[in-house]
């Protein structure tokens, strides 16, 4: 274990973390607490929020919308994407709209969402679900469409039926794209839930940022941001690992 620590890849991040935290602490103490907060204050706030249960409650609310929204996005997105890929006409017609929605920053769509869904769980869920589902669909469709024609020919030469073709060629070939879509969809979901909580219904972790802002308590804001950053990192890293595992057959040529 100690040997591991001697490696630069281990001690340098720790070193830089110490430096950053140290510098932050020093700078933080000298600045007006209404503007900035040192790590000690953030940790203190973290403790406070945990003690009152506020942080856990907020995290739960965030997780609910995030996981439910993402799950729905996967359940709807993958079949929809397969349909878009298998019926090129359908996919082509739909593509401009999906792309337009995808390219529109959600912050500006919030007023519309409020008009349609009001301010509540449903609205926030939509914000998570819809954009995540689009990412998943589009990538899945791409995977289905970009079946390698040479391998399709190989399968045909061995008289594979359409079902066998799908099972042995199309689906495995599409898997990398689907998995990439799932990862992108997850990233979009995270952003979506935070937007909803900061603008639509002030609850959850995003809500703590907003309240921290209006109460002029930077420590609160920083605390919530930290938690979100950590959560985001965990989710994305987990998905990265899954993606790599599922692609072990690709080797270097990914």
């Amino acid at each position: 274990m100690l040997d591991r620590l001697k490696r630069p890849s281990s001690y340098l991040p720790i070193l830089s973390l110490i430096l950053v935290l140290g510098g932050w602490e020093i700078v933080g103490r000298s600045i007006n607490p209404l503007l900035f907060a040192p790590p000690s204050a953030v940790v203190g706030m973290f403790g406070e929020l945990m003690a009152t249960g506020e942080l856990q409650a907020a995290a739960t609310i965030t997780m609910q919308a995030l996981f439910l929204g993402y799950a729905l996005a996967v359940i709807v997105g993958i079949p929809f994407g397969i349909l878009m890929g298998a019926v090129p006409r359908f996919g082509d017609i739909l593509q401009p709209y999906l792309y337009a929605i995808f390219s529109t920053p959600r912050v500006v769509v919030v007023p519309l969402i409020i008009v349609w869904f009001g301010i509540g769980f449903g609205a926030r869920l939509f914000l998570v679900f819809f954009w995540s589902a689009i990412a998943i669909s589009v990538n899945t469709a791409q995977g289905v469409r970009h079946a390698r024609p040479d391998l399709v020919e190989v399968a045909r030469s061995f008289q594979a039926s359409r079902v066998q073709l799908a099972r042995h060629v199309l689906i495995p070939g599409a898997t990398p794209f689907v998995v990439a879509g799932l990862r992108i969809g997850a990233e979009r979901a995270i952003v979506g839930v935070i937007i909803g909580e900061m603008f639509l219904q002030i609850v959850g972790l995003g809500g703590i940022i907003t309240t921290g802002s209006s109460e002029l308590i930077p420590a609160k804001m920083l605390c919530a941001v930290m938690v979100i950053a950590v959560l985001g990192t965990i989710i994305v890293t987990a998905l990265d690992l899954v993606e790599k595992r599922l692609q072990s057959w690709r080797g270097e040529a990914a």
Binding site: V108, W116, I195, M198, G212, L216, M221
Partner: protein, 251 residues
């Protein structure tokens, strides 16, 4: 399976759009709740009004300015730090975790902090765009430089190119260009989001501000009308970069 030409696709898409807009118009008129679903005609009218009054162009101008400045600064910072972590293992191990963390943190979550530190000014808004866009550029620069084109370096050296900086510019950056463009494309998309976020949250200016102010008074037709140019801005920017990216792909 009959192959579909680009013309077939365009034709289908246009027909699709025409039908879509037609259905929208008719159902919006029948539904008669302009607040929830403004008819296409109302949206177009609102768009026209925004154009004539100059509101749209002013707002668009402010947005594009913010976008360009933000992307420029993000590119510079991205290049500097990207080169740094590509060439120095120490720098990589010390700085990379923060860049990764920044990448996965929704820009929106950082905005209140920027507000507290920089207020409602232009600097703050630029910072938001930079925070949104810098990491993809940084990572792509680092990635592009890391995969050094060994042979090409030798070729350059044999023709008398001496020193790291000249080598950097003559060979490395050029070889890394495709990866850079991919990163820039990703950054552009995020920059547009950052720009919209900054305008909505930090100051009611630009397109973001326009949408928000009409949203606040529930003029849904104007909201739609203002969202259109914003989407187009994002799509156009990303498409341009994607085109350049495709041209650069010699592999």
């Amino acid at each position: 399976m009959k192959t579909r030409t680009k013309r077939d696709i365009r034709r289908d898409q246009l027909v699709g759009v025409a039908i879509f807009l037609g259905v929208w118009e008719v159902s919006a008129q029948l539904f008669d709740k302009p607040l929830l679903l403004p008819p296409v005609s109302a949206i177009l009218a609102a768009l026209w009004d925004l154009l004539i009054s100059g509101e749209l162009l002013t707002a668009l101008g402010e947005s594009i300015l913010l976008l360009i400045v933000g992307l420029f600064v993000a590119t510079v910072i991205g290049f500097v730090f990207g080169t740094l972590i590509a060439r120095s293992k120490t720098a990589y191990w010390m700085l990379n975790p923060y860049f990764s963390a920044l990448f996965v943190t929704p820009t929106i979550a950082l905005v209140p902090l920027v507000l507290v530190w920089f207020g409602f000014g232009f600097t703050g808004r630029v910072l938001v765009v930079v925070l949104a866009a810098v990491v993809p550029i940084l990572f792509s620069v680092a990635s592009g430089l890391r995969d050094a084109p060994g042979d090409l370096i030798d070729v350059a050296r044999s023709f008398g190119v001496k020193g790291e900086i000249p080598l950097l510019f003559t060979v490395r950056l050029r070889a890394a260009l495709p990866v850079l463009m991919a990163g820039l494309r990703l950054a552009a998309g995020r920059a547009v989001v950052g720009m919209a976020v900054a305008e909505t949250y930090l100051r009611l200016g630009g397109i973001g501000g326009l949408i928000k102010s009409y949203g606040a008074v529930f003029q849904t037709d104007y909201v739609f009308a203002a969202i259109l140019p914003l989407s187009l801005l994002g799509i156009t920017l990303v498409t341009i970069i994607a085109r350049i990216e495709r041209r650069l792909h010699w592999a």
